[in-house]
Symmetry: C2
Subunit: 409 residues, 2 copies
């Protein structure tokens, strides 16, 4: 058995094409909704502004050739009043956000007046209509404000609160199981001797998913026994929307995980990617459960969890925007690559430049390259050298997401 040789780009596209939104909705209070995805379109319940109001602390008047105005009243933000008439030589003192009387069509800020005292003001030339926010100028009652699938960000919460909306329908959180394999791994709270290693992937991938607002269950370790592994996977399949494993799917001996997935009906989209690092990666669907099998090496497991799984999980969770919003940056230092493979390249993006980590000479078992990087370059095969000053598409680890992008170089 040999691993597939599909490209990283095809692998990502296969994941995204096969990812289906779970389509289960629930109602949540906006304070608890950050990072969730809207399961309904939201239409404006009111105009914004709700009433015409002053954009400045100043004086409001009916525009004419007149330049001297008697102050007849002061209006504060929140003041309610029966409307009244204002003559051509009269004005109101008015605060920012205060409702303007129906006759007022222009406001001059206090600091722009030629003269101001308790009784009157004298003003210079000013544009008719200045410093007034007209009712409905930003949002008309009934218009579409937010689309299904929009992520609830702080900016979205601002829009919702302005409407007086406190409860919204969002998609239910997807259930993700993180499965450990390999009897040889020690959990970090155990003691490892010098020739034992800790189970890094479950914790690093969990933390990555949490950072991206996904909840995960660490469902434990399956042992090196085919029957036991088949049973365990079968249980998980019934309870989880997504199963994430790492290691154990490359070549036969003692790698029961692949067989146990297949036995449970897994249909892989791919089983192996021609990429450095991170080749032994598989994704597929098992009944309704999406499966990601990440590499065992912690660096490549993390990169593929980020670059392949995060966009896919967003789509399953109901997001409209699940493509990385890459930036452009100049490559700071040249480096060599193997032209026969795709590459996922770690580096530091700063002040418009991308610096590859240690000339791309690091191993997939290392962790410092991850820690000292803040971004990733996805490179398609065919190149053997990346020049300094070349402009690259770079994905920040903190990337936001857009409706579509092609982040491959």
């Amino acid at each position: 058995m040999e691993l597939d040789k599909i490209s990283f780009e095809v692998a990502l596209n296969l994941c995204l094409e096969n990812a289906k939104n779970i389509e289960i909705k629930e109602s949540v209070f906006i304070n608890e909704a950050l990072g969730r995805f809207l399961a309904e379109d939201i239409y404006a319940k009111r105009n914004s502004p709700a009433f015409s109001n002053s954009a400045m602390d100043g004086f409001g008047f009916k525009y004419s050739n007149n330049k001297k105005f008697k102050i007849i009243k002061t209006i504060y933000a929140g003041d309610k009043f029966d409307d009244f008439e204002i003559k051509d030589d009269e004005c109101v003192k008015i605060m920012t956000g205060a409702k303007i009387p129906k006759d007022v069509n222009t406001v001059i800020p206090i600091e722009n007046c030629i003269e101001v005292n308790d009784e009157y003001i004298v003003i210079p030339e000013i544009k008719k209509g200045a410093n007034i926010r007209i009712k409905g100028e930003e949002v008309k009652k009934g218009e579409l404000l937010l689309e299904k699938g929009e992520e609830i960000t702080p900016e979205v919460i601002a829009l919702l609160v302005r409407e007086g909306i406190t409860n919204i329908k969002v998609y239910k959180k997807i259930k993700i199981a993180i499965l450990s394999t390999g009897n040889e791994l020690k959990e970090p709270f155990e003691i490892a001797s010098e020739d034992e290693v800790y189970n890094i992937n479950s914790y690093s991938v969990s933390a990555l998913f949490k950072k991206h607002n996904f909840e995960v269950d660490l469902v434990g370790i399956v042992g090196d026994d085919l029957e036991e592994t088949i049973k365990e996977i079968s249980k998980l399949k019934d309870s989880y929307d997504v199963i994430i494993s790492s290691g154990g799917i490359s070549f036969g001996e003692k790698d029961y995980l692949y067989a146990a997935f297949i036995e449970n009906g897994l249909k892989p989209f791919f089983h192996g990617i021609l990429v450095k690092p991170g080749r032994p990666t598989m994704a597929g669907i098992m009944d309704k459960t999406f499966v990601f099998s990440l590499p065992g090496n912690p660096l490549s497991a993390f990169i593929n969890a980020f670059a392949l799984a995060i966009p896919t999980l967003r789509k399953i969770a109901g997001a409209r925007k699940y493509y990385f919003n890459y930036v452009l940056a100049k490559n700071e230092e040249s480096f060599k690559v193997n032209p026969k493979k795709d590459h996922t390249i770690l580096g530091f993006l700063n002040a418009g430049k991308f610096k590859v980590y240690e000339k791309y000479k690091y191993g997939s078992g290392m962790l410092k390259p991850l820690f000292y990087s803040n971004s990733l370059v996805l490179l398609n095969k065919g190149r053997d050298f990346i020049d300094a000053a070349e402009v690259l598409k770079v994905i920040p680890f903190n990337s936001d997401f857009v409706e579509f992008s092609n982040p491959f170089n």
Copy 2:
């Protein structure tokens, strides 16, 4: 009384210079530590790799001129064994991550062999030392791994788990109070008539802080009464590391908040910034409590909470890295600005280009400009026109943080 006219850059620097780490530590389990800041230096407890091991599934041997090797044993990841001798024409079949016997100094991947059967292999020319990860090649036991103030990211969690570290000292979460002012505001769960508006800032700023891993308390609304406001501030001062308010500090009438802060001993660093939008902004220290008074307008309150408060809160919370890591992007569409002021300019950063929101013609009372933007440009005064194709420093809303940067254009 007139507002100060300091620059946005000076305002930010004053906030950062005066922000002091609270220096209270607590111990947390790593699964709960995401987004917190380390309160101790972490030194490596073990070598990484902990033992020399194979980087590939392949065959390990003692390098010589010999090209044909008899397979004498198979070693799996996690196998423990008493060391044994290997002759020049012998090799071991060895799996990725498996410990190498002391005599093995080179590994050839299975797929690179000329011939492989159950008994022997034939290999082509290969470099001595290939495909072996040497004990300690990445990390030497005792070396400094992580510095005090490092943010606990998924990558940091990977480093900690590799060490078998499950509990770490982090700085205590800072206590932040969000104070609403202005009797005229309705809470979003109340009914607002057509001439009433909702309290947007408390919710949008809370959500922004939550997104940045800070916890906040919404401590309610203080009314338009000086005595009451003084008392309320005095109580908050004793309980919170930071107080955030919005509105009520620009000009005297009905704006009791400024007076109440001063009465409680506030020493402002600045009271007004010559910036559009967001002029009525104040920051200062009141005993040990840091105070931010944001503008009342929701757009400028949000921008200043992001651009001034977030870096400052990170420093108070103990972060080593609290400067925005800006990117460079080409300005897509020219726009005009008032040369007498600094500007905070919203726009959309995508595929290496920055597009200003509606030619920078939007009001500070609006919210759509925030929703349709994903990034901010900080512009110092002196320019009246920003050309298309000009390269700008742009701060993504999802920016990461670095030890130092100058994000001002």
